[in-house]
Symmetry: C2
Subunit: 107 residues, 2 copies
């Protein structure tokens, strides 16, 4: 099950989880208390976030603290960079961008 950062942040609940644990590591139960969702649902989201390495776990007794993996967030920033270059009108390597995306394999 190949996970993708973009797919991970597509879900609004997952973005909310990301925001929650951005500054402090939290357990699944603590996270779930912040939404109208069950602990299991949060757990599933955390699994997806962990799989694509947007989130890291830290075991502490029987509790697991989840926190944000900022480096992975930079990956999104890196993708945006090419377009930021356009709207800031400094597109030096534009053909690079284009050729990289052409003839993309299906899916």
């Amino acid at each position: 099950m190949r996970r993708d950062v973009f797919q991970a942040i597509a879900d609004p609940t997952r973005r909310a989880i990301i925001a929650l644990i951005a500054f402090q590591a939290l357990t699944p139960n603590a996270i779930a208390e912040n939404f109208n969702t069950s602990r299991q649902a949060v757990s599933k989201h955390l699994r997806i976030l962990t799989e694509c390495e947007l989130v890291k776990q830290e075991y502490q007794g029987r509790e697991i603290y989840y926190s944000l993996e900022l480096n992975k967030m930079k990956e999104i920033d890196k993708w945006l960079e090419q377009y930021r270059r356009i709207w800031e009108n400094k597109f030096n390597q534009l053909d690079n961008v284009l050729s990289k995306m052409k003839k993309q394999p299906k899916k």
Copy 2:
């Protein structure tokens, strides 16, 4: 059917389409030629991209040219901004970020 920018960029084919039309407006057929996908499939993606205003149409005879709506791309950048502030260690309004996300309504 409320569309979301984050959901729109979740699909790899849609990201490829975005990259394709970033510098030049293209018709659905022209876009489809760049992938192993049918024109109809591309058309569906364009519909989603148009719905969330990531893409704009320009009618020209019986052809429709699609091009990127850069302003909407900035919306993603804006979301990332809060986290960029963290990894650049200049989080001035961090509690602002946190409180905004708490008690989020379900979904």
